[in-house]
């Protein structure tokens, strides 16, 4: 017998959203859930900003010659797009929003280990974002997000504020990582052993390791570029014996693992979603859990595959190339285990699950093109062409944004206590996935043809595919707009969700929706692993479809 739908009265019980009122209570909050909501607002705004730049770039590339802007503006646009999307959205989004919101709930803790530092990360992020965006708009930074020397140290545009901004955002990222690792080590509820940890926690933990070990390297490297740009100390200056390839080594020592900072949280999300919507425990818990650590670890050994054509030695390219093959394995294990989880499951196709399917598809093709790129000789042709652009957009936008949307739709009722329109959600999911393919599949082909990236104008043979890509981008933008609209309206008139609308057995669903300010009235004691759907539970409630 379907349970009666929860009423508005349920929604109005005390929770973290209405525990305190007023802007001040938000700005000084130390509640991990409220901090998560602040991250949600900030990173989604950054995403919108970066998306506008992306659309402008695609519009400019609609015709071979100048279309809507000049070369100088175009160069600024793709720099802004890259910096905003990577540093302000991809890296902080899932850890900042869902890591913060869910980690303590999944561990049975009241908060993260250092709540004040957690709040500090928000302000560091904000400060870094303001400095970086101000610097880019004011100084017209035109280096691309990679800041390659000696271009970045000799360009007449202002670069130092952006570098400083990225450094500050890096500090925010580091502190988030420290917080999550310490929380996982010290605040697990009684009975929650390492082998019972939700897979989300494992992957976020692995992400934090990368954040801690890699981000300082980027921070220092960017500071060195800033010092070089402002004072001319010559550490990467070819005139004074400096080695520009050294910069590339240092940059990619962070920036390759940074790809895993972006994609591991996505894997964290889908490991939960697949279990909840197949109502089945994960196939191969240990394999999925340890492959997260494997990615974090081996991800550090492969940065040189960005340097195959840079003048790096053949020997080094060989080492980095073969190690890159191994990092692909850990992703493959996950893909196979997620697929196998569906076997003998009870699959319910809702919006989060559709996004999971999109994630799986994009991760597979994005990942396989990545392996193909590490097949050294092929990279020589593809390096710095649109093939690479399409590849990393498949991983970052494809896989990570799919997982982000999946998470948003899965935990939305937990975060806000209300359901969105499922019909609109399914329609938007299909539109986003189609639009994404239409945008980036032409770019793979452009790369095969040999169109280099960061081109303001291009020979006419590249025209048709560029038009196709721009058309796809508009579809994609339209899809995102629909998502934004129905999610925002659901906050006002969405159906009250009740504590567990999906009938999920993740630990975080053992709280009311939205959760109380203290999460749990008393510390829970864990007696089994999460997402165990073997037996019927008395009194289990889910929303009627």
């Amino acid at each position: 017998m379907p349970p009666s739908p929860p009423s508005e009265a349920v929604y109005n019980t005390p929770n973290y959203l209405n525990a305190e009122a007023g802007l001040r209570s938000w700005l000084t909050t130390r509640d991990h859930k409220r901090i998560a909501i602040m991250y949600l607002v900030l990173t989604v705004s950054a995403f919108a900003l970066g998306g506008v730049f992306a659309l402008l770039i695609r519009l400019e590339l609609l015709t071979p010659g100048p279309t809507i802007m000049d070369a100088a503006t175009y160069n600024r646009m793709f720099t802004l797009h890259g910096v905003v999307m990577i540093f302000l959205f991809m890296i902080p989004a899932i850890p900042g929003i869902f890591g913060n919101f869910l980690l303590p709930l999944m561990l049975g803790a009241q908060d993260v280990a250092f709540p004040r530092i957690n709040l500090l990360t928000v302000y560091l992020y904000l400060l870094g974002a303001v400095i970086a965006v101000w610097g880019m708009v004011q100084g017209g930074t035109d280096t691309g997000w990679t800041f390659y020397t000696p271009y970045s140290t000799t360009t007449v545009t202002t670069v130092a504020p952006v570098l400083l901004g990225a450094f500050i955002i890096g500090m925010s990222s580091i502190l988030t990582g420290v917080n999550f690792i310490v929380t996982t080590h010290t605040l697990r509820a009684p009975g929650l052993t390492w082998m019972r940890l939700p897979l989300f926690v494992w992957a976020i933990y692995a992400t934090s390791i990368i954040q801690i070990l890699a981000t300082p390297v980027l921070g220092m490297t960017l500071l060195l570029v800033a010092v070089e740009k402002v004072f001319g100390f010559g550490i990467f200056d070819p005139v004074r014996g400096g080695d520009p390839i050294l910069f590339q080594h240092l940059f990619w020592f962070y920036s390759h693992p940074a790809v895993y900072i972006m994609v591991l949280p996505a894997m964290a999300v889908v490991s939960e979603v697949v279990q909840a919507f197949a109502r089945k425990n994960i196939f191969g818990y240990k394999a999925v859990a340890f492959s997260s650590l494997g990615i974090a670890f081996v991800g550090f050994f492969v940065w040189g595959h960005h340097l195959f054509t840079s003048g790096q030695s053949t020997f080094a390219s060989g080492i980095f190339g073969v190690l890159s093959m191994f990092v692909g394995i850990f992703t493959a294990i996950k893909v196979f285990n997620w697929t196998a989880t569906l076997y003998k499951g009870a699959i319910h196709v809702a919006a989060p699950f559709v996004y999971f399917l999109g994630f799986l598809y994009f991760l597979m093709f994005g990942g396989l093109t990545g392996i193909a790129l590490s097949t050294v000789s092929l990279d020589v042709h593809w390096q710095d062409t649109y093939f690479v652009v399409a590849h990393f957009h498949f991983i970052m936008v494809g896989a990570t944004i799919m997982a982000f949307l999946s998470a948003l739709h899965y935990w939305w009722p937990k975060m806000f206590g209300r359901m969105y329109s499922e019909r609109w959600a399914l329609a938007a999911a299909v539109l986003v996935i189609l639009g994404f393919n239409a945008t980036f599949i032409p770019q793979f082909l452009l790369g095969n043809m040999g169109m280099p990236r960061r081109y303001y104008s291009y020979p006419e043979q590249f025209w048709p595919l560029n038009v196709a890509s721009t058309a796809g981008a508009s579809l994609l933008a339209f899809g995102f707009l629909i998502v934004l609209l129905y999610l925002v309206t659901s906050l006002v008139n969405g159906r009250v969700a009740g504590p567990n609308p999906w009938g999920s057995r993740g630990y975080e669903w053992n709280t009311p929706s939205p959760p109380n300010a203290q999460n749990f009235p008393e510390t829970p004691v864990i007696t089994g692993s999460a997402h165990d759907y073997q037996d019927e539970l008395a009194g289990e409630v889910a929303r009627a479809h």
Binding site: A72, G311, F336, A346, Y361, T375, S377, Y456, P459
Partner: protein
């Protein structure tokens, strides 16, 4: 076999294959492509089958606990690993070949600068943006840059090599098909990045020898695209300045702008760069590169106080490198400018070891 090659090449939108190396790289490409498609679609189809077969029948349906056996995970790891390593085992030797020029290769020096390619044959002619090579003979390129990092990219040869300032990188190829093939700059290098194009002209070997002999004997440059480096081997910036001045003359900039500080229809260019300019709107801006470029493209966006909005837009009339050259020229117009010291250009001594 050849038909299959052409079919796959067209299917993947790949450019023509101008060398044996390009053909072998493409064959690896086809292999990787087919294997990856097969594997990925197998997973996609399996997923879809599971979704239909195991759809949820009751709201709170319970499911069987399924644990993998060790053999599952071994297959999950082993199968892709073997495939990936096979790809690598084919791809890496190809890369080693590309990195190891044969001893009998002819050397050509490549000098990249914003935003052009210069090619110099030791003891022979020089050329700009056009690289002539003989078909069927190996050519080694020794590349260096005058300013920032560029990247020498010939899609038809499946060849790319970054060009670094202050040092040499090398690559080589043996083109087999006579023809003209596009050169791109593949490493972002500023305003003119996308117009830093060139051409590889692969000539039949006898024709090439004849051309080379002719070039050696004649002292004057043969064609427009073969300006000798020697005539411009001064500071790369000064050739850019010269280009800027020339473009400015051609576009008629000096009808309204002076270069000596005198008043005219438009503001003078002398000491304009980095000067604080007061606008009609009352705002003050610094005349940096962005401002100067914008003033050419959208002249009415920022009108200088005391002048009329009469300047036409040069959007579409000036290419990006031309605009940049004019900016460079404006930058050089300073009352306190030091006279440019003569600087010696590269004289290409052969690199002893290969």
């Amino acid at each position: 076999m050849n038909e299959l090659n052409e079919l796959m090449r067209n299917l993947l939108w790949l450019p023509p294959q101008a060398s044996e190396y390009a053909r072998s790289v493409d064959h690896l490409h086809f292999f990787v492509f087919l294997v990856a498609q097969l594997g990925a679609w197998a997973v996609v189809v399996t997923t879809l089958v599971f979704i239909v077969r195991y759809r949820r029948r009751r709201l709170l349906q319970s499911t069987e606990h399924v644990e993998p056996r060790a053999i599952h995970e071994v297959v999950f790891i082993g199968l892709p690993l073997v495939l990936f390593l096979v790809w690598f085992a084919i791809g890496f030797p190809q890369y080693v070949t590309l990195q190891t020029p044969p001893k009998d290769a002819r050397d050509v020096y490549v000098l990249a600068k914003k935003w052009m390619w210069k090619f110099a044959y030791p003891g022979g002619p020089n050329s700009t943006d056009v690289l002539r090579v003989p078909a069927g003979r190996p050519v080694r390129l020794l590349l260096t840059s005058r300013d920032v990092i560029h990247s020498f990219f010939v899609p038809a040869l499946r060849l790319k090599q970054d060009v670094l300032p202050g040092r040499y990188t090398q690559t080589w190829f043996k083109a087999t098909e006579p023809g003209r093939y596009q050169i791109f700059c593949a490493e972002y290098c500023g305003l003119g990045h996308s117009s830093m194009l060139g051409e590889v002209v692969v000539m039949p070997a006898e024709e090439f020898d004849a051309w080379m002999e002719r070039e050696r004997l004649s002292n004057h440059p043969a064609a427009q695209d073969e300006q000798p480096v020697a005539s411009e081997d001064v500071d790369p910036r000064s050739s850019l300045l010269e280009q800027g001045r020339r473009v400015a003359v051609l576009q008629g900039c000096f009808k309204c702008h002076s270069v000596d500080g005198s008043q005219h229809i438009g503001p003078t260019w002398l000491d304009l760069y980095n000067a604080k300019v007061k606008l009609e709107t009352g705002k003050t801006v610094v005349a940096d590169e962005a401002y100067l470029t914008r003033s050419m493209m959208e002249p009415n966006a920022d009108i200088v106080a005391g002048y009329k909005a009469v300047m036409p837009t040069f959007q579409g009339k000036l290419s990006a490198p031309e605009a940049a050259a004019i900016v460079e020229f404006i930058k050089s117009l300073r009352t306190d400018a030091p006279s440019p010291a003569p600087q010696k250009g590269p004289i290409y001594a052969p690199i002893p070891a290969k």
